[in-house]
Amino acid sequence: MFSKEEKNFYQRHFLLDDIQVSGQEKLKKSKVLIIGLGGLGSPVATYLGAAGVGSLTLVDGDVVEASNLHRQPIHNYQNIDKYKVYSAKEQLEKLNPFIEVEAINKHFDVNLAQTITSKFDLVIDCTDNFSARYLINDACVLFNKPLVSGAIYKFEGQVSVYNYKKGPCLRCLYPKPPSDSLVPNCAQAGVLGILPGIIGNLQAMEALKILLNLGVIQEKTLLYNALESSFKSFGLRKHKSCPVCSSKATITKLTAIHKECKMNTLKEFEISIDQLKEKLDGTNPPLVIDCREHSELEVSRLSFTKHVPLGEIQIGTEDLDKDQEIVVHCRSGVRSITAINLMAQVGFTNLKSLAGGIIAWTNKYGME
């Protein structure tokens, strides 16, 4: 089954008693879905591709940005602005020409989940938001696929194997998604670049073990703390009333997860770029606050904004009139929601967050 060149490539796997040629053939026949080609997806795709997983499908709707590269080394500086899935596919094909890589340049949504999940032996969650994570979990339960999930925060990370042989799933542990605004993501909190490399590689290792039926598959969560150089693990248990994987399941088909989050109620706190433009052109324009970090202003800045970084939002606005109309913007419209929450706590009454942030604004109106 293997060409001479492939035999050369996988030589060191063949030497392992637990893999040999038969194990490598299993890998070649395996189909793995990797969702998210960022910090976690970079090592996962790189190492599973190098290991010879025969078919990798990559899903991500984002493009490569310079600020990604310190932790996403599957991409490179030349590929900035290119879709991450195409950038990763290019790199994987250079690394291992003996595997198939399919690139899907959109975010994982209900439609996509419905169409493709059943085709894979294994799914790996490398996403960066709760809506995607819960959708992936539910799809894996409903289509009966093992799921290797990793997540990171600043200096800490975790890895879990869910739904392995109908074992515990994400919702056994956390039945409902929290709002994305409750827990910051990498763009808001920052992350040490090496951390996703470690967590992603742990995911890749668990994935390979599942595909090869090797060793003990962990029905536990592994927590890693880089600052303390410590690993801890906790046994996962199936929850008898899990909303998706128990006999009392209430979720029996896939639905868009954001409906369960705070997003519905958030709509009323958001303002679109067109609505803001109209207000700015009117007789009583609102005050616009830019809550991004200092370093981001060098890249882009709107002339009519007052700058107060998110970390100083309560102190930096204390002299303002609490009842005046204020619109807060950030880069993409996530941090500004946190900002208006914090401002509401100290008494501001007329707040909106600019949907889509400065990216959406400059796309349509430029830097005026």
Partner: protein
Amino acid sequence: MKIQIEYFAIYRDLLGISSEELEVSDGLSIKELFLQKTDALMDRDELLESTVFAVNSDYEDCDYILKEGDEIVFIPPVSGG
């Protein structure tokens, strides 16, 4: 009795420490401990609803009654990737 608490991910930021040893009264549940420790935080109820707790090497419900020497970890959901 003495217990040990470790704070994972956002709890380290929210509470400003990564771990502590604590003297608590007998019969205290995890939920009561959580409410004591997060007294000053906003979104406390939502946080409790979305947090899981590990004691020693297993996850436990928040009505678990703490015992001498228990090591508890507050584990919030983490979504970064």
